[in-house]
Symmetry: C2
Subunit: 497 residues, 2 copies
């Protein structure tokens, strides 16, 4: 068999191979397009580039839905080509961010488990064309995704037409890694049968009727590697505080040495925290998360982690070079699921996850801002953090206590935007220490946070705010006229105080 | 059989009948006490009164956990007797509210589905003594609750000792109404098998080992009736807007004429909204809610509602007089569940509920404050609204557009406290109109909210704020130095502007 025959096993579909330009012509102005891609992994690569190129002479605007953020500068390219009128449900590109904050692109920042739920109930406009990167199409027309599942399965099932990008450089060994399960539609939904990170409950491909596959494009471009930074003193300190906390939980008999299935948000700090578990006494760790980063494979290589379920694999260049050749070895320990399932409240609550996500800032009462710089400027989006934090066994948020060389305290009197309320935050950690908020009232939380998480430079000002607020009274004491003044000063002077 | 024999069918337990004073002596200073009671229904009545009485001469402090708020002024009596050091997870009494806002009682305001989850994983201190109102104790020692289940089942199962209050005036016909299901403990939890409001998956009693029942007290006091007000012009208008919206959803093919299972928060407005469905073309309505109020029985009597699942029944005096004698007739259409199950994210998401909850205020971007007056003073608590809104098929929040004779706009530039983020709010309704926020970015939401929900007196000021904020830019434009100024003015002058 030729390589094309092994990658497109349904013979009748082989004559649908066209150029990216030709495939992109299936997309018209005003359409809703659902593309594969979740945190720089497994995104459709050729068709969006062709669309941006075409827009130079033939302007068009689309609503773009994906799993999450895209690699290969695609969000940047599409934003700069003015192709995007609306973007759903997550992004992290600086150029697109500028367009969103300027009000040029309408950004619908959603809990990542919810997009396809709203699509299938037609509460948001339906997908006209789906564009899905695949390693192969099966004999029956099933689409085998690459390094992410994201929303690809539901996009393909719900779209009028599907464009498949067969990526010859994505390893064929990815086939068998995916577990495509679509919940039965309400009102007749049955329980989702996932009862452990290892549960396989679906198909290894997206079961699309072959006649819906309108075009196939052959590509070779690789995923972008992740941009996470190496652990530093502060992230190591955060990891240390959290490890100490877990050790105490084990001593108290609330956890055993395999802890509970772990979720960790994307990014440097969460990756560093997981990395820190390599030197811990914990073992047989499991993940039930959305993105599997370098730390997952480091923990497996160290013999600390026995299984990981996610919706995508996003690695640094060095880690890709290490993992991809050994994929067959890792495969029995991995599952990639639709993000609706990796993040599903039902499953998150059932499995009892320890969820570690990153805060931009948090306040003295434990409310967390994950998304908005100074309450107004979108950073990336809430992503899956809300799916996980609300339903976690333990909801942990981590951040460094200061930013911009000390001009910013990450602990503030009142957060300028709330993504996670006081009800959804159990543990806060900075390099200064860890605050355990479980079972505490707001005034008690403030004391624990001030005693443990705040940078010494900012302690006096926060303590002063709290004392004056408490003197005024209330369940959650605040001086409303000052509550956001730290952000106002930062905006006006470049420093919070 | 004597009445006592029919109510305490396990003969060996009959000699544990003692006075309320004697039973209350099982409770010591510093203990955690878990009592039955959910929104004025089915609370333990005699033992807490005895405890308050005893505290006059023998001061003691306890942590009191319940299902939700208590009737018969128990929270008031306990607060005024200074018996409460800590109160979990919901209350609505003015005297207790004052003590909480003064910082005298530590109030841990929780999502109502989560309290027992934290208890059984020992993340909050365990229950020493449970006090449960019951209509009967079965032959095997099973406790049959009265008009609420709340957290009673887990309190009784987890406590060291159980006190049962057999209430002779709670109708024996309540037996058979309850469905006591406790999820298997993590990490081996199986799916919760509830797949429709009608699903019966548990036992009709709380299966407690008889030796744990340390005392039985005989009582006769009735539940307090609810304090909801009759529909008025504004609540009728809110109901009308929502009915029109549902009619359009049916026309669009997104719902059929039986809508989806309904949840409605406690209180006058939500009750009025449900009441408004009596005059609608909808039929075969079902509820999957926490509190079943007058409107549930009015809809059943009108032939509009075929089934209702909840965690308690809380009625006005008139409705009690009507419903209790006809309990046998209503019983096949009712189930009362533990609040962990009535509010469980897994079940809420699976069933695809339409959730209608009350906002204190909301902002121009759709964030909702349900709990804190002026960001500081606790009103009641978040209750189940977060369990429902996050996982709803349609998350609706309702409120009147103004309060205090027009001094307060319920729509503000920025809410002074966030309980429900923009991500969890689909529909906002005031008597002015309805804003459908589904699939909209923040700037779009602001336009829809201003056009539909705001009282005309407050429109110019909000439009001015929005215009000046948009000129500054951002995904969620705000003027941080002014964002809370409406609340500050209200505090200082008694009027928001």
């Amino acid at each position: 068999m030729t390589q094309l025959e092994t990658r497109i096993r349904n013979a009748a579909l082989r004559d649908r191979v066209v150029s990216a330009d030709a495939a992109a012509r299936l997309i018209h102005d005003g359409m809703v397009v659902g593309m594969s891609g979740f945190t720089r992994a497994g995104e459709a690569k050729a068709v969006p580039m062709a669309l941006a190129e075409r827009a130079k002479t033939d302007p068009l605007k689309i609503t773009l839905m994906t799993g999450a953020s895209l690699g290969n500068d695609l969000d940047k390219t599409l934003a700069e080509a003015h192709v995007l009128s609306r973007r759903i449900p997550f992004m992290s590109d600086p150029a697109l961010r500028r367009a969103i904050n300027a009000g040029e692109v309408m950004y619908v920042d959603q809990h990542l488990s919810e997009t396809v739920e709203m699509l299938r109930t037609r509460q948001i406009p339906g997908v006209d064309v789906a564009v899905i990167e695949a390693v192969a199409i099966t004999e029956t027309g099933g689409i085998v995704p690459t390094t992410s599942v994201g929303n690809s399965a539901s996009f393909a099932l719900l779209a009028d037409k599907v464009i498949v990008e067969i990526n010859l450089n994505q390893p064929a060994e990815l086939e068998g890694l995916h577990d495509i399960f679509i919940p039965t539609y309400r009102p007749n939904r049955m329980p989702i049968p996932v009862v452990s990170p290892e549960s396989r409950v679906g198909l290894p491909f997206i079961p699309v009727p072959p006649e819906k596959i309108a075009a196939i494009v052959i590509t070779e471009k690789l995923d972008s590697s992740s941009t996470i930074l190496d652990p530093d003193d502060e992230t190591r300190a955060i990891a240390g505080h959290l490890t100490d906390f877990f050790l105490n939980e084990v001593r108290q008999g609330r956890l055993d040495n395999s802890l509970a299935p772990l979720q960790a948000g994307i990014g440097t700090i969460a990756n560093a925290v997981l990395h820190g578990l390599i030197d811990s006494p914990f073992h047989d760790l499991k993940m039930y998360s959305e993105v599997l980063q370098d730390s997952t494979f480091d923990l497996m290589a160290a013999g600390k982690m026995s299984f990981a379920s996610g919706s995508s694999i996003t690695l640094s260049a060095a880690k890709y070079a290490e993992v991809l050749p050994r994929l067959a070895e890792f495969k029995p320990k991995l599952i990639l699921r639709p993000q609706e399932i990796s993040n599903h409240p039902e499953v998150v609550r059932r499995l009892g996850l320890i969820c570690i996500n990153t805060a931009l800032e948090f306040d003295i009462y434990g409310n967390v801002n994950s998304t908005h710089v100074m309450g107004t400027q979108m950073m990336n989006g809430i992503g899956g953090s809300g799916d996980f934090a609300r339903n976690a066994y333990l909801s942990v948020f981590v951040t460094k206590s200061i930013a911009k060389g000390g001009a910013i305290s990450s602990v503030v009197p009142m957060v300028s935007h709330v993504d996670h309320t006081e009800h959804d935050v159990d543990i806060l950690v900075t390099e200064q220490g860890l605050a355990d908020l479980r079972g505490l009232a707001p005034r008690e939380r403030a004391k624990v946070i001030l005693a443990n998480c705040v940078h010494p430079d900012w302690c006096p000002a926060l303590a002063d705010y709290l004392a004056r607020a408490e003197a005024r009274g209330g369940h959650t004491p605040h001086l409303l006229e000052e509550a956001l003044s730290w952000h106002v000063r930062l905006r006006d002077t470049g420093k919070m105080a």
